[in-house]
């Protein structure tokens, strides 16, 4: 397969944007997994991060702000053969889309969710996001953000996610490896990818992250939930990268009475006798 299968296009991102690194790693990960572009569906909402499907050669669905997850999950339900990847930002996922984030963890549909977390709203030019540090000064939070930032990794583990990881757009080897594991995981896999926003976040910069991130090594037990939650709370001077928690759980398709057997939903043919019987039951 050609290494240019997932070719990319001219982008609208600022020079130095963390999204470039993420896009590069995504392309590499998909190629290394030997996936066919026409079998991959990228789903995004609205935002700078959400432009990513426009810049890579796959099927793409760019829907409403905050609403990538419902569309992605339903596309997978319709056709389980698609590799469905949601790639979108921290505002889209934790703000506008918060309710869907929570409840799709519960569904555990086999999709992958990469969140480009730059701790600020980029597309709309610099407001605080749900993960912004306290004290971040913006044109709306003029005296500094007073809301406690969400800890999405902790939230995901607590809500029952079966694959939770953190990466950094500047650590490309680690990011590619994590992306591949996430895509291969059976069930909802979630990766919070820290990235700088050169235009609007002057605090959480490339060097800010570089100085703090470190890799979790083999001594860390990814299957101990309580320990993972402790590890998730470690965020500040030291920020651990890697798979924070992993658990094998039955997927939505395995649990759903209709989907557990019979192949992709969209290919199934309705038996006319079924409907005939239902009509007769009203007589």
């Amino acid at each position: 397969m050609s290494t240019n299968a997932f070719s990319t296009y001219e982008t609208a991102w600022c020079p130095g944007c963390g999204n470039f690194g993420i896009l590069d790693c995504l392309k590499t990960a998909l190629e290394e997994l030997d996936l066919n572009p026409s079998d991959v569906l990228m789903v995004a909402g609205i935002g700078q991060a959400a432009k990513i499907p426009q810049y890579i050669s796959t099927n793409s669905f760019c829907g409403l702000h905050g609403r990538a997850l419902p569309a992605a999950v339903a596309a997978k339900i319709a056709n389980e053969k698609l590799t469905v990847i949601v790639s979108t930002g921290d505002g889209d996922t934790y703000g506008e889309g918060g309710n869907h984030f929570l409840h799709n963890i519960r569904r555990n549909v086999n999709i992958t969710h990469f969140v480009h977390d730059n701790q600020v709203y980029g597309l709309t030019k610099g407001q605080a996001s749900p993960t912004s540090d306290e004290g971040l000064v913006t044109d709306v939070q003029t005296t500094g953000n007073i809301n406690t930032p969400l800890n999405p990794v902790l939230l995901a583990i607590a809500a029952g996610a079966g694959f939770v990881a953190r990466s950094f757009s500047g650590d490309k080897d680690q990011l590619v490896a994590t992306m591949k594991q996430a895509i291969a995981h059976e069930g909802y896999s979630f990766v919070d990818i820290l990235q700088p926003c050169v235009s609007f976040n002057k605090v959480n910069t490339f060097s800010y992250y570089s100085q703090r991130v470190y890799h979790l090594d083999d001594s860390y037990n990814v299957t101990d939930k309580a320990a993972s939650m402790q590890k998730a709370m470690e965020y500040g001077d030291r920020i651990p990268l890697g798979v924070i928690y992993r658990e094998s759980k039955p997927t939505f398709h395995q649990k759903n009475a209709v989907l557990k057997s019979g192949g992709p939903l969209l290919d199934r043919i309705n038996e006319p006798e079924v409907l005939q019987k239902l009509i007769s039951s009203f007589i």
């Binding site: 569906l41 569309a71 999950v73 339903a74 596309a75 209709v258 939903l265 005939q276 009203f282 007589i283």
Partner: protein, 554 residues
């Protein structure tokens, strides 16, 4: 024709009694129309069902009673003024009432004697069957379909005990509807969707649409369709769009409040040209309104909802048979034209059960838009009719994209003024194409009418009866046009009939006369008189007649 009320507090078993009785009466040959009036509560309060049955088709409920089964005293107090002169009130001897028309039977005592106090309702049913001259033989087979095997015998005994405790009062009439269905609007919608190959239904529970989801969920495994309760209505509609994009026919259903939350997504379906069907089962608004009652006040709302401009279709359901066929049609049209299609139903239609000829499946054709593409694929190719070739991602070697931003033929984001205009015009051209498949409103009445009544959706039933009643009294003066397709608005028949009308009267279940406003906007035709009902209850044929005659007197 007879009219019976079963009334009591929520939780007393009114629904079960009504369901058994309507089934029995229908099997006995009658055309049965059952309408339900209930409060937004699980226990207590006052609920009632009206069962109207006769030898000819019945299209409207009536407030005048031949009899009532009163499960509590409150029912008698509330409805006694509606009782006809030789009407009866059947109740347990334990009730306080001393009403002269009361038939008091020791139903609770008899039930206890039989061994289960909960069968007292079926004792009452037995009384009713005998009063109306029915044969006891039908009972066994109907009871079997309502109760678990171990409860069948005692319930048959209960009905028989009631049957033997009175004499016949009303003669049995011979109808020919024994082999017909009794079906609610909600079930008919569900069946219509299934017949059209529905594969995915996502929804958030909301009265009066929940029964659609419940019916589909009950039969989802057999039918091979996935029903998913969404975390909110925004998820429900976006899931339906995602499933549809990926090639599974999808639908969602809700009421006005839920539809309000779905509004942005309508634009997504319109812009990205992804087929979508949304059922708005209307109830009185605004906001919470009367959660369990009926109204048709979302017409203007659903026609214009969502920012910007894009093509859509709106179809209002007129009766239970319409509910099946139009839902089937909606799914086909949504796919063919790649637009959102909104179905307007309401609590009255959704919860009422009518007698309908069994749906015929053999003639139904599901039109799938499958394309084989040579060369490169342009998802939003500019075409003469505005409909671009639609491929399903993963089922083709071509890449498929959908975008909520303005986009070019490829589906890539654009800022170009020229492309924008070309795309907007392409999408809006689909409205023109839709005009060729519009169905004209149903014309009811004589060709030489003088007064034209206009209505839409479920007022079809009351209007149909009103035309009959009015013309029987006043000669061939009245006719009606009842709209199913409301947007785009079919105009041919309307313009033709309006020309010969001395008066045009709109009959609607809303406060502002929304159909009249739409018709005036689209054709310039003005209604001279408005009959509007917005108290949460459906108008009857008799009430339309009364209000028209009152207007004549003035």
């Amino acid at each position: 024709m007879y009219n019976l009320l079963i009334g009591g507090a929520a939780g007393q078993g009114i629904d079960t009694m009504a369901a058994i009785l309507e089934k029995l009466l229908k099997r006995s040959g009658y055309f049965v129309l059952t309408t339900r009036d209930f409060m937004s509560r699980v226990r207590g309060g006052h609920n009632f069902s009206l069962i109207r049955f006769g030898t000819d088709a019945i299209t409207s409920h009536s407030s005048k009673l031949d009899g009532m089964i009163a499960l509590n005293d409150e029912t008698i107090a509330l409805h006694q003024s509606a009782l006809k002169t030789n009407g009866f009130i059947l109740c347990d001897s334990g009730l306080k009432t001393a009403h002269p028309s009361a038939i008091k039977i020791d139903m609770d005592i008899m039930a206890k004697t039989l061994g289960n106090s909960r069968v007292s309702g079926n004792i009452g049913l037995g009384v009713v069957l005998k009063l109306f001259g029915e044969e006891i033989t039908l009972v066994a087979e109907v009871v079997k379909s309502f109760f678990k095997e171990e409860l069948v015998d005692i319930n048959i005994q209960a009905v028989t005990a009631g049957y033997n405790s009175v004499e016949t009062r009303f003669p049995h009439l011979n109808g020919h509807f024994g082999g017909y269905m009794t079906i609610s609007g909600s079930s008919a919608i569900a069946l219509g969707a299934m017949a059209a190959g529905l594969k995915f239904y996502s929804a958030y529970p909301m009265s009066p649409s929940t029964s659609i989801m419940e019916y589909l969920a009950l039969h989802s495994e057999k039918a091979g369709l996935v029903v998913e309760q969404a975390e909110d209505e925004i998820a429900a509609v976006n899931m339906a769009i995602g499933a549809s994009f990926a090639g599974a026919r999808a639908m969602t259903g809700t009421s006005g409040g839920g539809f309000s939350l779905m509004v942005e997504a309508l634009g997504l379906s319109g812009m990205a040209e992804i087929p979508l069907v949304v059922v708005d089962a209307q109830r009185p608004g605004p906001v919470t309104g009367f959660p369990t009652r009926t109204e048709q006040s979302d017409l203007k709302f659903v026609i214009s909802a969502s920012q910007g401009e894009f093509p859509r279709m709106v179809i209002a359901l007129r009766n239970q048979e319409d509910a099946f066929h139009q839902t089937f049609r909606a799914l086909n049209l949504a796919e063919k034209y790649q637009i959102p299609v909104i179905i307007l139903s309401d609590q009255y239609l959704g919860d009422a059960t009518a007698t309908v000829k069994p749906f015929e499946l053999s003639g139904l054709k599901t039109e799938r838009a499958d394309e084989a593409i040579d060369g490169g694929y342009l998802r939003y190719r500019l075409t003469e009719d505005g409909i671009s070739p639609r491929l399903i991602p993963g089922k083709t070697k071509h890449l498929v994209s959908a975008d909520s931003d303005e986009h070019d033929e490829q589906g890539w984001i654009t800022e170009s003024a020229a492309v924008r205009v070309a795309m907007m015009d392409k999408r809006m051209r689909k409205l023109k194409a839709l005009e060729s498949v519009l169905q004209e409103p149903e014309f009811i009445g004589p060709e030489d009418f003088k007064v034209l009544i206009l209505g839409w959706g479920s007022t079809w039933g009351p209007i149909t009866e009103a035309i009959k009643l009015l013309n029987a009294k006043h000669g061939n003066l009245y006719a009606a046009l009842v709209f199913g397709d409301v947007y785009p608005l079919p105009k041919r028949l309307l313009i033709e009939k309006a020309v010969s009308a001395y008066d045009i009267i709109n009959v609607e279940q809303n406060a502002t006369g929304q159909l009249a406003l739409l018709i005036r906007e689209q054709t310039g035709i003005q209604c001279t008189v408005s009959i509007l009902k917005y108290d949460g209850r459906q108008i009857t044929g008799e009430e339309i007649v009364d209000r028209i005659e009152e207007g004549i007197r003035k």
